[in-house]
Amino acid sequence: MSFTVIRALVLRYWFLYSRSTFRVLDLFYWPMMDLFVWGFLSMYLMRFQHGVPTYVTFLIGAIIFWNVLYRAQQAVTVSFLDDVWSRNLLNIFVAPVRPSDFIAATYLVGLIQCVIVVIVMTLSAHAYSFDLFKLGAALMPLFANLVFMGWSLGMMTMAMILRYGEMAEPLAWAVPYILQPISAVFYPIDVLPAWLQPLAYASPATYVFEGMRQILRGEPFDSKYLLLAVVLNVAYMGLAALIFRRMFNEARQQGLLSKFGT
């Protein structure tokens, strides 16, 4: 990988974001809307749970964490789509840019977006008396696992779009929501029917959200959750890299890269 190349690619995204009010608003709009909806819902539910404010913390914590995963995936795929839509992919791949440089740049953009979103949501969540820092030392590793999972999903989505073109573009928005119901985001895994639970156990996010709920319930954090999330994330990242490599090579064999440029 080349740091100079990654820096230049990130500079391009900086130029895009620094100019576009809509892009910046988009970065804040959806997370804030999520927070408002789930925050007010939580306050409403509290009326039926006198003296037990755990619903509030679960749901608000869940929506903040969900946005980390979603943003990480979105930043990767939308950054890639930006190059597809502006017909710039060909310019990039006739320059000395390795696919790994390109992916690293989108990861970096994703990480920056996640950090911004978490800061804004954490500050805003105080309005619902929620403090993300209650998660203590586990906060950063849990956050990192969600970012990693978002990156893997982003790379897999990018690979599909590279290979199947614009008909695969809706995947950029659909993929995270395919996983949401089975990743124990808003409810524990045992709520799922037995036949879905094995799928849920295969999602790294499941362990992150289960771990988060455990801490918010005031129980000691079971590091087994973290370990399982890391192992799965490493496996999926490797798998995503293999899929991307294969699709990139297929795109080169079939002349698809040039079609993104003209």
């Binding site: 310019n91 791949f93 006739v94 320059a95 390795r98 090579n249 002349g255 040039s258």
Partner: protein, 250 residues
């Protein structure tokens, strides 16, 4: 002109059974300007895309600077550049932003100085703050060319650089290409449907038809082979199926 910069040997490319390039071989030496000519669908663009590493060949090899493009894409592309009338820079960035990004991708030192020098030569200094998507085709071509010259490429691939330009701008572009070749001994592969361009700019031409190279030589040699006064008539002869030089038929 001495060492070979591009060596293509028995290159073949098929897309789902249809042959785009059929066993072509050629060499381009340092400092040469070679015109890759032929009607639409002849295989010129595919050949250029193989040289740029965008497409992998079905068989045969393409070596640039002595390295195989399939295995050394990045070090080769570091020393090459590309400009096409049909591939524009991102329309939503300003001209200077695009040039800054591409200077970064090619690792250009002191890019501001380099950009200023090229912009002056191409007469586009006044476009810096304009959005790339708002440029006219003549401006856009010159900005693309500016991007293509940022890294002082040893090999420059130009895909129809004068397409849709008015005669004045087309003339300026041809002069810039000649100047770059003269001053930096740049090797240039040039595709065009404008035979006047080719006669004026190219040292040698390769005529492609249906994926094969039908004839090659200096523009004068090719015209002599086909007993024509200009390359346009040679082009028409080849495009209408008279692919074998009349001399060869005898």
């Amino acid at each position: 002109m001495s060492d070979p910069i591009v060596e293509v040997k028995n290159l073949r490319k098929e897309f789902n059974g249809s042959v785009a390039i059929d066993d072509i071989s050629f060499v381009v030496k340092r400092g040469e300007i070679v015109g890759l000519l032929g009607p639409n669908g002849a295989g010129k663009t595919t050949a250029i895309q193989v040289l740029l590493g965008l497409i992998t060949a079905t068989s045969g090899s393409a070596r640039i600077f002595g390295l195989d493009i399939n295995h050394h894409r990045v070090p080769i592309l570091q020393r090459c550049n590309f400009s096409s009338a049909y591939v524009n820079l991102p329309h939503n960035l300003k001209v200077w932003e695009n040039l800054a990004v591409f200077a970064g991708l090619y690792g250009v030192k002191d890019y501001r100085g380099k950009v200023a020098e090229l912009e002056e030569m191409l007469e586009i200094s006044h476009l810096n703050d304009k959005k790339t998507g708002k440029l006219s085709s003549g401006e856009s071509t010159r900005v693309n060319l500016c991007k293509a010259l940022l890294n002082n490429p040893e090999l420059l691939l130009l895909d129809e650089p004068t397409a849709s330009l008015d005669p004045d701008i087309a003339d300026k572009v041809r002069k810039v290409v000649r100047r770059i070749q003269k001053e930096q001994n740049t090797t240039i592969i040039y595709t065009s449907h404008n035979m006047r361009d080719v006669q004026e700019v190219c040292d040698r031409v390769l005529f492609m038809y249906k994926g094969r190279i039908r004839t090659e030589g200096t523009p004068q040699e090719v015209m002599n082979q086909y007993h024509q006064d200009n390359l346009e008539d040679v082009f028409i002869t080849i495009a209408r199926g008279g692919a074998v030089a009349p001399e060869e038929r005898l």
